[in-house]
Structures are given as C-alpha cells and as structure tokens.
Symmetry: D2
Subunit: 343 residues, 4 copies
C-alpha cells in the first residue's frame, strides 16, 4: 500500500486554490493538511472551501504546529527563496511555482537547501505534463522531426497581472510571470540551453488601465539563439483579452511539429452565416492545462512516494530565471545579451 | 491553336449568370455569344452585365439567328428535356444542369437525342470537379481506404428554394433540387449503383415561411443500400439558414476519408473569450464550389475541343433521377423502395 | 466531511479494470473494496493490479462476506438483470454498464428492484459526461441552435467484439454493444423519444475474420424519426480498424452544432510532403472518453453521497434497449419499425 | 468592350511558366505575345509549352521586334533594375517579381523610370491577393481586432534555392528571396513601417547539401519594431523539406487573427491508428497561392485597362528591400539595426 502524502499549501490565492482543489478532487494519494497565508481572510475562505482545518499565517508557525511531508509554494516570486529554503531546512519536499526566484543567487540557495536536507524539489512548469506537449517531447526525442533547428512559443494571457507581477523589482515582469513557461519549454524541446537573447517590448494598454510602473510592457517578442546553434522566438501578450493562448511550433531538419490549440472544445457552432463558425476558446489558464495541473501534482506526490527526482528540477527553474534576467537586460540596453553575461 | 467554343446560355437567372461570369472572367477558350431567357427583363439585365449582345426569348429563335457550338441549360427542371433535345437535334453540345430531368423517360429522350446527333452531353454535377472531392475519388480508386463499405453525404442550403423547386410536380422537391448532388456523389465514390432507398422527411419551417405545397419537406434523411452491399446515408436540410454545407465521409475496409469543410477561409478570429474563435463559413454554394464551377465548364469546353466524352454523363444524371423517384416513393409510401421498382 | 463510498466491482475484465483504475487514481471519495468475477485467474490479476484484497467468484458470496455501499456492473449484457436485481435487493446502489439489459422485461425488473429497495441506479452512458457532449447539451437546452430538427451520431470502433457481443441472443449485436451510446445520445440531444427506426446492415469483414454468427453485421445505418417530428441517423462500423470514432452533428431551426473530433491531440506533424500533415487519432475508446469516465463515476459517488438521482436513469437505459429491439426487428423484416411495436 | 492586354514575359523559368500558364488558362483579357530568355533552350521549351511564337534572347530585341503593352519580369534579382528601367523607358507597364531589386538605388531608378514614362508598376507580392490574407487585411482595417500590436509571419519553403539566390551579392539571400513576402505582409497588416530589425540566423543543412557560400543561412528569425510601436517576428526556413508553409498571426488590442494553414485540401484520411489522421499539405508555393497568382495578374491586367495604380507599388517593394538590407546588416554585425541606417 502506497503512503499518503500530507501537504502544506503555502499561499491561499488562486494558484493555492487550484492545487488544493486538484488534490481534494482528483488525487487520493495526497491531502492538504495545512494552509499558510499571511492574510487571515483569504486563509479562512480557502480553508473553508477545501475543508483544511490547520491554518497558519506563517510557514514557521505551520512547521511548528502541523505535521506534513511536503509544501506547495504558490506565493509571489519575491517570497519564494525564503519559504523554499525554510521548508527544505525543515526536511519538507518542495513544489515551487514558477518563476523559481528573483535571481540566480536565490535559485542557488534553494537548490542547495534542498540538496543538503534531502528534500525533493519540483518547479511548477506544468506544460511538461500536458498531454500534447509531453507527446511532442517524446516524439522529438525519438527523432521524428530530426535535429531541432527552430522553435517558437507563445503565452498570451487574458487579464492584467497583479501589481507585484508588473513590477520588475518584485517579479521581473511579464517575461518572468507569463513567459517563464516558454523559456522552459523551448529549452526542453530544443534540448539545448539558450546562449543569447534579444527582446523587443511594447506597452499598448498600460496607460488606459492605469499602469504607471517603470519599464512596464504588455507585449514582447524574444529572439533566442541556443547553444546547439538553433533559433527560437517567444511572444508574450498580457493582457491579451481574447483568451488564454499557449502554443508552440518546432522545426527540425526533417519536419515540423505544431503543438497546442486555442480551441477549448471539439464543438463547432454555426447559427449566423455572416458570423461563421464558432468554437469555444480557452478562457483562462486552468481551462487549458486542467489535466497538466492534475498530472504535475500527481508526479510530485509519486516522486515523494518513490523517492525519485521530479522531472522538472531546480536546474530547469534556474535556466528560466537566467533567461528572464538576460532578456530584461536586453530590452533595457537595446542589444542582444548572452546568457553568460548573467550567469 | 485550339478552337474557341461559342456557347449559348439558356436561362439568365442566378445559375446562368454564374456560368456566364465564369466563362467571361476565367475561360479564354469559351465565350457566351448568345443568351436565351423567356423573361425579357432578366434577359437584358444579364445580357448587359456580361456584354452578351445576341439575346433571345426562345431557344428556337436563338438556333435560328445565332451561331454557336454548344448550349448550357440552367432553366428549371421541368423545361430540361424539351430544351436539351431541341439543342441536340440542332447538333449543339449540351451542358445540362442537375437534376437532369423530371423522370427517366425524359432522361432517355435526352440521352438518345444527343447520341443520335453527335452532341456531347455533360450533367452539372460540379462536385466531381472540386479539388477535395476529386482528390478523394482518385485516392479511393487507388485503394487507399480499401473497398468502400459506408458513405455519408450531406447538402444543406441556406435559402428557401423558389416555388417551382418546392413543388413535387415540377421539380421532385429538395431530394432532386438539393440532394441530387449527394445521390450522384455517393454512387461515384462508392463505385456502385444504389439498390434500395428509404427516406424520412420532416417539415419544420414550411408553415412559418408560408409554404403550403403538398408533401413539402425541408429536412430529410435517406438510407441507401448499394448493389455492392455497401450502405449510405444522405441528409438534406433546406433552408438551413446557417450557411452552405456540403460534406462527405466514406469508410472503406481499411479506413476513413472525410471530405470537405464548412470553413470558407483559413482565417480564425478571436476577439471575445465568451464567444470563442470565429471562422468564416461558406455563405452560399458559389462560395463553396468556386473552383469546381470553373473546372466543370473548362472540362465541357475541352471535351468539345478534343471531341471526348465529358466525365459526367447522361447515365450519371439518369441514376440520380432514379434515386430521386425511388426516394420520393419511399417517403410517400413509408417503406424502403428498390431502385428496380422505378427503373 | 463527506462519506467515502465503498464499491464492489463486478467483472474484472477491461471495463472493470478501467473503472477500478479511475477510482484508485483519481477519485479520493470512492474505493473499490471488493471484486467479483467468475473466472479466478482474471479475478486475481485485476485484484493484484489494483490492490483489491476481497475477491469473490460470485456476487452472492461478495454480498455475504464484504461490506460495501454500491456495485459497478461491467459483465456481459445477458448477466445484467440478475446481478443488478440481486445487488438492489441487498440495498446496494447500482452503476450498470450499457446496454442495460437484453429486453424491456429485464429493464423493468431492474428499475423496480432499485426503486423498491431505495437503490440508486445509473446507466453507463459516459458520453453524457464528456466535456464536449455535455457543453453541447447545455447550449442546445439554452436554445442556441433553436428547436432540434435533425441529428446524426456515429460510433465506429476499432476491434472485433468478443463472441458474446456478436451473438444476437446474448447481446443484441453491434446496435446494442456499440451503438447504444448513439441511441441514448440522439434522444438526449433531441430531447425527444424515437418513434420509428429503419436499419440497413452489411457484413464486410465477418468472413475474413472467421465470424459465422447468424445475422452478424459489421456496418449499419439507422434512420430515425422522433416523436417531435425530428429526424436522426446513426452509423455503426465495428471493427473499423482506423481508430475509435464517436462524433455527432445536430441541426436546429437556427443552426448547426458539430460535436467531437477524431483528433486525440493538439499535435500536428509534417515530415514528408507526399504524406502531408499527421495528427494522432483516438486509438481506443478509453482515449476518447478519459475525462468522461472519471466524471461519470465521480457523479455516481456524489449521487450516493448526496442521495440524489443520477443523471442517467434506468428509463434512459430502457429507451436505448427499446431502440435496439426495434432496430433489430427492422433489419430482420426489412421495414421501418415503430417503437410502439416493441414497447 | 475591354482592351486585351498583350504581355511580354521576361524569364522562361518556373515563375515565367507559372504566369504564362495563368494567362493562357484563366485570363481571357491578357495574352503572352512575346517571350524573352537568355537561354535559348529554356526559351524554346517554354515558348512551345504555351504556344508563344515570338521569342527573344534579349529584351532589347523583343522591344524592337514585337508589339506589347506590358512586361512581366521573372528573372533573378540582380537583373531586375536594368530590365525594368528598359521596359519602362520603352513605355511598357511593368509587373516585377519580388524582391524588387538589390538595393535602394536600384529601387529608386525603377520607380523613377516608371513615373517618368507613364508606366504602371506592380511588385509581385501575390500574398496580398490571396483570399485569406486579403480578407484579413479588410477586417483589420475595419477595426475587428483593434489597433495591431504584434504580428508574426513565416515562410518556409521546401527546396534548396538556386545558387544565385543563396549568394548575398546576387540576391541578398533567403531574407530577400524567401522572406520578402513576410517583410511586405507584416508592414501591410500592421499598417506601419518597420523601424528596427534584429536577425538571428543558422545554417543547419548547408554542408550536407554542398553549399559553401559565405554567410549562407537556411534558418532565420527576425525581430521587428514598427514605427507604430508594434512588434513583429518573421521566421524563414529554406529548405524546410516538409512542404510550403506561409502563415501569419496578428494580435490587436481587441483580439487575435490567425491567417493561413498548412492544409492543402479539406480531406482527412485515417487508415492506420498508429499513424493517425493525414491531410495533404501544400507541397510547393504554386499550390498554396494558386488563386492569388491568378488574381495578382488579373489585377495587373485590369490596372492597365482602367489606367489605375496597382495595389502593390514600387514603394512597397522598396520597403521590403530596405528591410532586407537592415536585416542582413543586423546578423552580420550581431546587433539590432534601425531602418534609418540603410535608407
């Protein structure tokens, strides 16, 4: 009989609720037994919603009073390092949402704390657990399209990010909060580290939505050169308003692979020939990656049960942070930046 | 140098205009040199629109006064036999719109008149010239899906047919006017004649649109058994309002082939995440079969130039009429009807 | 805290394994605590695979020795009535796989036993829990396409059914085993009972696969007339070899809705321009309805927890059986058969 | 009656044959009456194939001996300026294939010669006449997706370009020969001139295909900033082997528009469930833009007949050349280059 894994959820906001719901509804082998949030109101709301009795306003208190095997950290980026290190040092396994941390020093501290305390570490790049993306990876690895030459990835999100996520000093901005996924996914599918990045950014909606953060941008295109010699392009638009959009294309020496779709359902409706045919779109990210969110937490639970290293490591999270730092430097200095400049 | 083919267009309504436009705009080897319509107003409108000087209110007059190689007959079904026979007896090649005629005696008279006077005869089943349908045919013939077992075909049209086309005594109704194409296309792709047909019909919109024709129906599903043992299904909805819809699926012993689409363009738009993604639909039949209409008339012109039998013969037209007669008998008598009962 | 529901799985074959896996992997609120199968070898294999300790070769023994709230019956059709009645009379809630039973007397016996013993009854039409189909239902109910006029449904399955499922005396053949889903789904989406059915069948692969069962068919098309006046068509092909195919189209007075797709992934690959673009197909039914299978069992568990009637009732199962009986009579007697003739 | 336009085709290779075929088969209002090619063998082959009697090995000879209204120039880029200027000075209207010329001085010379001699000038960006792209343009202009923020465009071609087209000194390489279309199309749809470009290139297949041209690349990604503040990305892969691929996406403040598809036909085939579903791909560029090639030449003919300026002007061609020059400078100097540096 497999061991049931007890989890302390850190952060009771929308991502904390998503993972709590996944565990409660779909994962018999894991259970959220404690909840941490600095804001008592949200803490109690989420605790009530998912029937979590043990509630704390700090991780320290949680570690002191509750018994659990692992933490899932869903708080803002600038809090990651402190929480992850504290949990690891208490011997708890760590599932850490992306982006991993604010800078590479923080990433290193987290990796080191986990290693030294025997804590497993998984970064929340759920795209790797999506049925479409993971099948693509398998087939590329099997050589189906030959050596990868060029990859494109996009993440366009519907809503204006929260203030901290628009602030370069607390989050590294959209490149980190929205397009970390693309930095990870392009490196994963190309099977090569990025070597150089060039970023163009634009701010089209900031003023009308009352954003006056310095260096704020809501559109960006990154141009990548990989160590393999391959090329890459990432686009980010947030808020894009039209829905949630996460797609990739990769061209190898033998052919092309197109991954993902905007269509939320295999349902097409025509009721007006002037309009045409209508198909539901993914409205929000949980719609697009419903199964991926289940499978990434299942993988974390199973990695603990089996004591195996999770698929998405601290090293993976660190590379995405490095890409963010180099990309930000690129648009600020209006020049291509080598990853080696920031690593 | 190839001979230019001079054509007399019979019928100056929407189909007459379609073919006149095709010849004028896209087919250097053919020219409409005479136009016939019993209604002077439409005759002059269409004549002016396409720059056709020679205009006649009867084919007899046209044959008497104008010089041409061929006729294209686009008038209502109940006029087909008389016009086609007259043209053939004058030695003119005949392109005859579907449905070929009202009954098999008329079909036979047309076929015989053409044969005896050396006139080529082509029936207007343009679907056979559509790039998607013709590629499907080639691949089925090449054995790609194995022996055909089951075929489905549909034609749903947006608008209420004209009064004569709703009247069984002047047109044989929607099964003839709308679904003749399916009767032909299923027989063509199955490479087998229909042996038995069963029809269910329904009338959902007649009353609200002021149609009180006896036995009128606007929805129908036909169930077919072919001589090969294969099965078929045809659906007809007219008026369907949502656009023009013509698609097929065929299953062979080895696999499936899905032919056609409702999407008019490779253009997808998302501007409202509650609505979803929108793609233009084929609004009318000329949108769907733009290239097929060019190619079928080009084929007729080239068949005359090369003196070869057109691909879609009087025999093909006759089988579709037989299917119409048996199908109509089926729904009136509420039983499956063998084609042999009407042939 | 919600009550955990203990289940006895009856039948340890492929459907029994599917539901056992769903409960074990994804549904914390239910647990398979007992397993019944008449064949000890399969009983032990499946018991081992899913860690079910309590194993019995008869339901009687299971009822006697184990403690559970509900049964899930996955055995062949001809065994359904006896098992379902026995479970109901022991006060167990019943999830019963489709087709519900061999005839209407058996359906009535099951319904009556459940009602008299306070047992909830759910029939395994998982299609109703599929995200695409259920969204379609909601939108049709909301009037999006207007009053339904015409529906088409298909189920084509890849493999040759087991001998009992090809034998009309033990299963009612493919119309029951494969196309029960379509009989239910068309009635559900049309919101009307079928009134008349006509069936054409064909046998293309039986001989080459060594099937000599009387009246065996591997292709069928059913033509339906509903009480509402609406029309329907169902096609069945099994074995179809090319994959698992379950799609629907429905046309209402205002428009069309196309439901489902053959594409298993949002992944398109092009590596050879002579071949073209390739997309994975649903290989087997569990691929197509992965989420629907989770949600139907979740619904059964929740119905018990909340003591509410499951969405797919015995009445629904009974209508599908009536459709099967009338359809079979139709092809044997080569005439349309009214449902009232068999009810 | 409209005047028939007589054309001298310059260049008897694959593009010259394409346009000659279009005129002969589909455009009654235009006729190729003279053919020019420096290579007698190709001159005669193509002349025979399309029945063009008047054949010349130089434009000078053609101008001297034949009578025509216009030229269509399909020869390599480095010959464009001399031929276009000579034709314009002889009062002939000029249809000039893309890329317009080698540099901006050449572009200016062509534009000036046409203006001073009353010659109409159209550049061969046929994408503007494609039904999908032109509908997209109309809808963007109508405000459907709001102000354009970000555009992506790709052209991936199957075959290795001819030696002159791989040589920066005679063609400016793939950015010019393959991706000129994207430089034009992004500027057209964004309704803004490019302001800055950054290019990454890679050479994956050169060595294995025996290409040793200096600075040769077969993969490239360009990152664009427009004068409007909008962003753009263009990818080029040639040879890509998998087919011909030309697609765009554009995101405006209100939504997204996805333009084009890889699918050549509305035909899907499934015969092997391990492979999945297969759809024909565009194998070569004439497949993808069949209708656009007809419509661009029809537009040129009609512009002459009506004496109106063609839609795709010398100015449009000149901007694409400027983008090519800046892009090439960018990858050679490994830095973003402003268009103002080359203009």
């Amino acid at each position: 009989m497999t061991q049931k894994i007890n989890v302390c959820m850190i952060g009771a906001g929308r991502v904390g609720k998503l993972h709590s719901g996944t565990l409660k509804r779909y994962l018999p082998d894991g259970e959220v037994v404690a909840l941490v949030d600095t804001q008592p109101e949200i803490l109690n709301q989420t605790g009530d919603e998912f029937g979590i009795e043990a509630r704390f306003t700090s991780l320290e208190e949680g570690l002191d009073k509750a018994d659990f095997d692992a933490v899932i950290i869903t708080t803002p980026t600038f809090t990651h390092k402190e929480l992850a290190v504290m949990a690891a040092e208490a011997g708890k396994h760590v599932f850490l949402e992306k982006p991993m941390a604010m800078d590479l020093e923080e990433c290193d501290a987290i990796i080191q704390a986990c290693e030294q305390n025997g804590a497993l570490l998984q970064i929340g790049f759920m795209r790797r657990f999506d049925p479409d993306f993971s099948l693509a990876f398998e087939r590329i690895q099997a050589g189906e399209i030959g050596e990868p030459m060029l990859v494109k990835s996009l993440t366009h999100g519907p809503g204006l990010p929260p203030p901290w996520a628009r602030d370069l000093s607390r989050s590294n901005g959209n490149l980190a909060e929205v397009n970390s996924h693309d930095l990870d996914a392009t490196r994963w599918l190309m099977d090569s580290n990025p070597a150089r990045i060039y970023l163009e950014v634009a701010n089209f909606k900031g003023e009308e939505r009352g954003v006056d953060t310095e260096n704020y941008y809501d559109n960006m295109i990154a141009n990548l050169k990989f160590e393999s010699g391959g090329l890459g392009s990432i686009s980010g638009v947030c808020p894009c308003d039209y829905g949630y959009d996460a797609r990739m294309e990769i061209i190898g020496k033998k052919g092309i692979m197109i991954i993902g779709s905007l269509e939320n359902n295999a349902l097409t409706v025509g009721v007006d020939r002037d309009t045409g045919l209508v198909t539901p779109i993914f409205r929000r990210w949980p719609d697009r990656f419903e199964m991926a969110y289940i499978k990434e937490i299942e993988h974390f639970i199973q990695s603990i049960q089996r004591d195996t290293q999770p698929k998405v490591s601290g090293e993976d999270g660190r590379w995405a942070v490095a890409g963010v730092l180099a990309g930000t430097k690129s648009f600020l200095e209006e020049r291509p930046v080598k990853l080696s400049e920031v690593m």
